[in-house]
C-alpha cells in the first residue's frame, strides 16, 4: 500500500482499476460458490422448470438494469467508488446519495482527483455502516419481525413500495440539489411530474424511467449550456 503515496495520477488510476477488478472477480467467485456448494452439499441439481421460469422473469430485465446503472451512476461514484459500490449494492437508495452528499459538502466533482478520494471514502464508510446494521438486524431478526408485523402502522410505514422511507429521503435530498442547481433540475422535474400525472401506469415502471430521464436531463442541460443559460 505504501507504494500509492506520491504515485503519478496515471499510475494511481491504473492501480485502482487493477485492484478493483481483482476484488470484483473475487466477489463473483464467492457469490457463485454459495449456490454451487449448496447443491453439492445437499446432492441436488436445480429444479429446471422453476429455474427457467424465474430466469425468464428476471434475468433479461435485471441484466439490462445492471448495465444501465453502471453508465448512470459511475460518473457520480468515481472509479474506486464504482468497483466498491457494485460489489456491495444498494446504489440508488444509499451509495449514490452518500457519495453525492460528501462531494457536495466538499464542493468537488467525482471526476476530479480529490472527488475520487472522497467518493471512495463515502462509499466505503456507507458500506461498513450498512453491513454492521445488517448483522445487528440478523441478531434481532425474529423479535423485530414480530414487533413490526404486530403493528399495522409500523409495517406500512416501512413497507418497501408503499412506505415512507424513500419519499422522506428524496424530499430532503431534493431540496439540497434543487437549491444547488435549480436550472438543471427544473425542466426534468416538471416533465416527470406531468408524465406521472397524465399516465398513471408509469408508476409501475419508474425504475426504468431513471436512465431515460438522466439522458434527457443531460441533453437539456447541454442545450442550456450551449446557450450560455447555465
Amino acid at each position: 500500500m505504501k507504494k500509492d503515496q506520491g504515485l503519478m495520477l496515471n499510475e494511481y488510476k491504473e492501480m485502482t482499476h487493477r485492484i478493483g477488478r481483482m476484488w470484483t472477480a473475487a466477489a463473483m467467485v464467492l457469490i457463485f460458490a454459495v449456490p454451487l456448494i449448496f447443491c453439492l452439499m445437499h446432492g441436488v441439481v436445480p429444479e429446471w422448470g422453476s429455474f427457467l421460469r424465474g430466469a425468464i422473469a428476471i434475468i433479461p430485465m435485471y441484466w439490462a438494469i445492471g448495465l444501465i446503472e453502471v453508465f448512470n451512476y459511475s460518473p457520480m461514484l468515481g472509479s474506486g467508488g464504482t468497483y466498491l459500490a457494485f460489489v456491495t449494492g444498494n446504489l440508488l437508495n444509499m451509495k449514490v446519495p452518500a457519495a453525492q452528499v460528501a462531494l457536495n459538502k466538499a464542493g468537488v466533482s467525482a471526476t476530479t482527483e480529490e472527488g475520487e478520494v472522497l467518493s471512495t471514502i463515502a462509499v466505503a464508510v456507507s458500506t461498513i455502516v450498512t453491513d454492521l446494521i445488517l448483522i445487528l438486524g440478523l441478531l434481532f431478526v425474529i423479535p423485530i419481525t414480530n414487533w413490526i408485523n404486530a403493528d399495522p402502522v409500523l409495517s406500512s410505514v416501512f413497507d418497501l413500495s408503499t412506505g415512507y422511507v424513500i419519499p422522506a429521503l428524496f424530499g430532503a435530498l431534493g431540496v439540497v440539489f434543487l437549491s444547488k442547481s435549480w436550472k438543471v433540475a427544473i425542466v426534468p422535474s416538471l416533465l416527470m411530474i406531468l408524465v406521472f400525472l397524465l399516465i398513471p401506469a408509469t408508476y409501475a415502471v419508474s425504475g426504468i424511467l431513471i436512465p431515460v430521464m438522466s439522458v434527457l436531463a443531460v441533453l437539456i442541460a447541454r442545450w442550456m449550456f450551449n446557450k450560455n443559460m447555465i
Binding site: 429455474f51 453502471v70 468515481g78 457494485f86 471514502i121 455502516v129 431540496v175 406531468l194 431513471i210 438522466s214
Partner: protein, 242 residues
C-alpha cells in the same frame, strides 16, 4: 425446510460479510492514503466519512426490513447474503417474489434453482466493471479535462434524472390521490407519501437556513438523517389521516 436456515448458510453469510467489510476497509485506507498524498486535509476526509456514516444509518433500516421480509421466503441467511453483496432491496424483493411465485412447493432442488437465478440475475454490473469500466472512466476523465464546467453540469444532470423520477413520482401520486384523478389502487398512500416528501424537504430547508445564519457547520452532518427521521415519524401521523 431446514436447508434454508442451515448452519452452513450462516457460515457462508459470515464469510461474505467479512469479505465485504475487508474490501471496504481496504478501499477506505487506500483512498485516505491517496488523499494525504494529494494534500487533502484530514478534516475534509473525516467530514466525508462522518457525513456518509450519519447519512447511511436511516436508509439502512428498510434494507434490514427487506432482509426480514425476505427471510420468510428464502430463509434468513440467504437473504442476508443477497443484501450484503450487490444487494438492492428493490431487486431482491422483486426477484425472490418472482422466483418463489414460479416455484410452487419449496424443496431443496427448487431452492437451489432460486439461488442460481438470484445469483445470475445480479452479475451484469460487476461483469461490466471487470471488462469495461476502465474505458468508460477514462472517457469521462477526458471530458472532465477538456471542459471541467460542463463535466460538473453533466454529473449534476445525471443525478437530477434520479431526483426528478423519484421526487416527481411522489408529487404526482399525491396530487392525483388528492384530486381523485387516478384509480385508488395505483395512488394508494399517495397523499401521505407527498406530505412525507414535503416534510423532509421543509425540514432540510430549515436546517439549511439555520446553518447559513448560525454558521453551525457541525449541524450539516445531522441535517439529512434528522430530516428523514422527522419526516418518517410524521408519516405515522399522515398515514392515520388518509
Amino acid at each position: 425446510m431446514d436447508f434454508m436456515n442451515s448452519a452452513f448458510l450462516y457460515i457462508v453469510g459470515a464469510v461474505i460479510a467479512v469479505f465485504v467489510l475487508a474490501q471496504s476497509v481496504f478501499f477506505l485506507v487506500r483512498a485516505v492514503k491517496r488523499g494525504r498524498a494529494l494534500g487533502l486535509s484530514n478534516k475534509v476526509m473525516k467530514d466525508a466519512a462522518v457525513s456518509s456514516a450519519t447519512f447511511s444509518v436511516v436508509p439502512s433500516v428498510p434494507i434490514v426490513l427487506a432482509m426480514i421480509t425476505l427471510a420468510a421466503t428464502i430463509g434468513a441467511p440467504f437473504s442476508w447474503i443477497r443484501l450484503s453483496v450487490i444487494g438492492s432491496m428493490s431487486y431482491e424483493t422483486v426477484a425472490a417474489g418472482a422466483v418463489a411465485g414460479a416455484a410452487g412447493e419449496m424443496t431443496a432442488s427448487v431452492y437451489a434453482g432460486i439461488m442460481w437465478v438470484m445469483t445470475i440475475g445480479i452479475i451484469s454490473g460487476p461483469l461490466f466493471n471487470i471488462f469495461g469500466l476502465k474505458k468508460y472512466q477514462t472517457k469521462l476523465a477526458e471530458i472532465g479535462e477538456r471542459n471541467p464546467k460542463w463535466s460538473k453540469i453533466l454529473i449534476d444532470a445525471l443525478f437530477m434524472g434520479i431526483i426528478a423520477v423519484m421526487g416527481g413520482q411522489y408529487i404526482a401520486k399525491g396530487i392525483a390521490a388528492l384530486a381523485g384523478t387516478a384509480s385508488e389502487s395505483i395512488v394508494l398512500g399517495g397523499e401521505a407519501q407527498l406530505l412525507t416528501l414535503l416534510t423532509g424537504a421543509v425540514l432540510m430547508g430549515v436546517f439549511g437556513v439555520v446553518i447559513k445564519i448560525t454558521k453551525a457547520k457541525w449541524l450539516e452532518n445531522f441535517a439529512l438523517p434528522i430530516s428523514m427521521i422527522g419526516a418518517i415519524a410524521l408519516s405515522v401521523v399522515y398515514h392515520g389521516m388518509f
